[in-house]
Symmetry: C2
Subunit: 192 residues, 2 copies
């Protein structure tokens, strides 16, 4: 298993049929994930298409994540924690300022996703909302959103089976409140 | 008031401080809306950033719609119906096939948004989830989504005040189920 150090990121190629396992090593830690079609970088993960086709906001084992071109990108085939978020955008420097009043430089998922993607020639301007693994965003019938500590425990994992050849970018999220007050590492491996 | 004919679209420039009024002329009709920064087309409306900063899925009077660059694009200053959606992506030919089994050509919000944007040199590949005015997407605590008929009545309207110079693309939505079974027209005007 490879380790993404706290407040950093990684990227990899995942071929059709391969399975990516993402592990919350210590527990209570979010990992933002982006997917691009390896052979057409204009095709990428889409929260809107996924909500549309899966007909649910909450995505877990048995659900697919879809692209902006209305194609399936991955299937979630295991999810021991069972709670993920696809509502919120990756944290960036302005969200650090807004929610934490941090004005100086601070790592962010947006920056770490960009670092992972730029080696494949993908511009930061194309970054959409990420699939936020282990993130615990609750909402009520009035739509009110709350970012709560992840329910994931040490060793919880989620497995994605690729439905096309993909570029995957992953982070160990850098925002304190999303991760129960401390930023920890994330593990990942291609298991088939 | 200008009229967007059923299953078609329009686009316009809205300068900072101007107010765009969008009217459901007959009632029970959705209008998809996209926003781009007039002076930097890489900056555009973002559901993820909007949910993040507004801390709600349901957006109405008093809420702002935010960009992928974490800036406010418009404020909703009036909303006589009060129900809009920002979860679902614009309908396209594949959604027409998936939900309605329509294989031949059929108009879609995706196509109509693209037609409105291309005159400004904006590629269809950049199209994100739109703000779906008057769209009635309900969800329960388990995340299950349902597309219900709009609650908007003839003459209901919503007003957006621009927080920066914008390109706006609007549609009269082409998907039957989103519009209570029939596709109707939409009105719009810049009122200041």
């Amino acid at each position: 298993m490879k380790v993404i150090e706290p407040k950093s990121g990684a990227s990899l190629i995942l071929k059709k049929g391969e399975i990516l396992k993402v592990t919350d090593i210590e527990g209570v830690q979010v990992s933002d994930m982006l997917l691009y079609n390896l052979n057409n970088h204009n095709e990428k993960i889409s929260s809107g298409k996924t909500f549309d086709y899966e007909e649910t906001i909450l995505l877990t084992k048995g659900n697919f994540l879809w692209s902006n071109h209305s194609n399936k990108m991955v299937e979630i085939i295991e999810d021991t924690n069972g709670r993920n978020d696809f509502l919120l955008a990756p944290c960036d420097r302005k969200t650090m300022k807004h929610f934490y009043n941090i004005s100086e430089y601070h790592p962010s998922c947006y920056e770490n996703l960009h670092k992972g993607l730029e080696k494949f020639g993908i511009s930061k301007e194309t970054i959409p909302s990420a699939f936020n693994i282990f993130m615990n965003v609750t909402f009520n019938q009035n739509g009110k959103i709350s970012v709560d500590p992840p329910t994931s425990k040490a060793g919880d994992y989620i497995c994605f089976k690729a439905q096309m050849d993909l570029i995957v970018a992953l982070t160990a999220c850098s925002a304190l409140d999303s991760n129960g007050g401390s930023c920890k590492s994330i593990g990942y491996e291609v298991v088939s």
